[in-house]
Amino acid sequence: MKTWMRIIAVIVGLVPAAVAADGVRGTGDLGIVVERAAGSIQIVETTGRTSLGRVTGLGDLSHATAVFSRDGRHAYVFGRDGGLSKVDLLLARIEKRIIQAGNSIGGAISQDGALIAVANYEPGGVRVFDARTLEAVADIPAVWGEGGARSKVVGLVDLPGQRFAFTLYDAGEIWIADLADPKTPALVKHRGIGKLPYDGLVTPDGRYYLAGLFGEDGVALLDLWKPEEGVRRILGDYGRGAEKLPVYKMPHLRGWAKAGDLVFLPAIGRHEVLVVDARSWAEVARIPVHGQPVFVMARPDGRQVWVNFAHPLNDTVQVIDAARLKVVHAFKPGKAVLHMEFTPRGEQVWISVRDEDRVDVFDTRDFRRLASLPADKPSGILFAARAHRIGL
């Protein structure tokens, strides 16, 4: 058995990465790097900061993302082309792959790890699959209004209690789906949340769901402990009627925006990061930054917040000190910085630099570059530790 496993490990190239003498390794320090144009992912490890292998044949991975099984063994990769692929991180191979829709944007894994939900643009809605087999379990068409039109769905996240939350872009609605009975989802719809909600997030404790608005100022907020109070608007006047700057890339929201009691959010059409107090939801500060923020990500300990920017200012990364609410570091990793991912305890950040075909690894304490890995037009970097975080 031991020999057999070692042979497998050698075949898939996992041996250099500090595999124990028995040929077995964990996945807690593994992750994937999406190679968006090539339709492949690299499997990487953050202890030795190396690439372990590549999995190809994943389709159109522009705007791809992934979630991880609760045992950390599998990544579920969501492709733009509606592809849902279950990838074995240790054997570096596709275990199962389906095309579940025509055009999709991302997904989530249920609290118990048994269900994978995918947010689709075409046909607009959410589809739910068995995490083990990828067999269809439920279909939730995002039908709204009078004529039976379907809305594009964004901001799909898992919630405690075997639920999912998501946002209807065209309709301006937030829906909560309870999948206690997986085949018959129970829906609660919150209507009229604002114009063109572009993405959503749930705070790491699973209590608050936020949807950022593109069509008007502000963010829609739902307290999931008090759903009867409905959705309210925060940051409703941050633009104060001022002419918006052009937004050449839509910002992204996820649960890493929370740092201590503060939530850091990208402004729309203003070169600012907005800071709100997560107890009162009042605005605390606006931090001037280099460009239109895309990802605003708190290091896991919350002390730093890293920001990247939309085209054409996307060669720069800035770091905000969460105690002083000021930019304390700025540097240029290279052209087209698309994504950043922290190691679980935040000592490293991995940054994809698309146009330079590189993923760079930085020490978050002194900002030294620790490593650089070649990658083909890298975009999303996602670490397996997300398996154990609500909303990721």
Binding site: S62, H63, D81, N103, I105, P246, P288, H329, A336, D366
Partner: protein
């Protein structure tokens, strides 16, 4: 390690250089205007045409999809654009679509470049 304060001299220099770049861009735009109505390829150098094709796939692609079959933004495939007027499409690129996330690209593209992109999309992007 270089700790930067947003109000430091380094940032002031950056702002200045961006202002200069904006002036240079405006000058380039003015210079390019006559070319817009002129030649087939709008007088674009092949290297610039390659840059534009890359821009459309990779950056326009963040909303319209890298294969241009659509995403949050509309699909931009030849069969979708067939029959749509080139000038109207170029105007959307240059001035955006108010009320939607489509931004105005006039600060970043000349009219000749927008016209080149419209033709390339209609013919199928290289």
């Amino acid at each position: 390690m270089r700790i930067q304060d947003p109000h430091s001299e380094w940032w002031a220099r950056r702002r200045n250089s961006r202002a200069l770049a904006a002036i240079a861009l405006a000058a380039a735009l003015a210079a390019a205007l006559p070319a817009a109505s002129a030649a087939d390829d709008g007088g674009l150098l092949p290297a610039r045409a390659r840059e534009l094709a890359y821009l459309v796939r990779q950056d326009c692609g963040s909303c319209h999809g890298m294969t241009l079959k659509g995403g949050l933004g509309a699909p931009l495939l030849p069969e979708i654009l067939a029959g749509k007027h080139e000038d109207a499409l170029a105007a959307i690129i240059l001035d955006g679509m108010p009320g939607t996330p489509m931004p105005p690209w006039r600060p970043l593209l000349t009219e000749a470049e927008a016209a080149w992109i419209v033709r390339a999309l209609k013919e199928g992007l290289p």
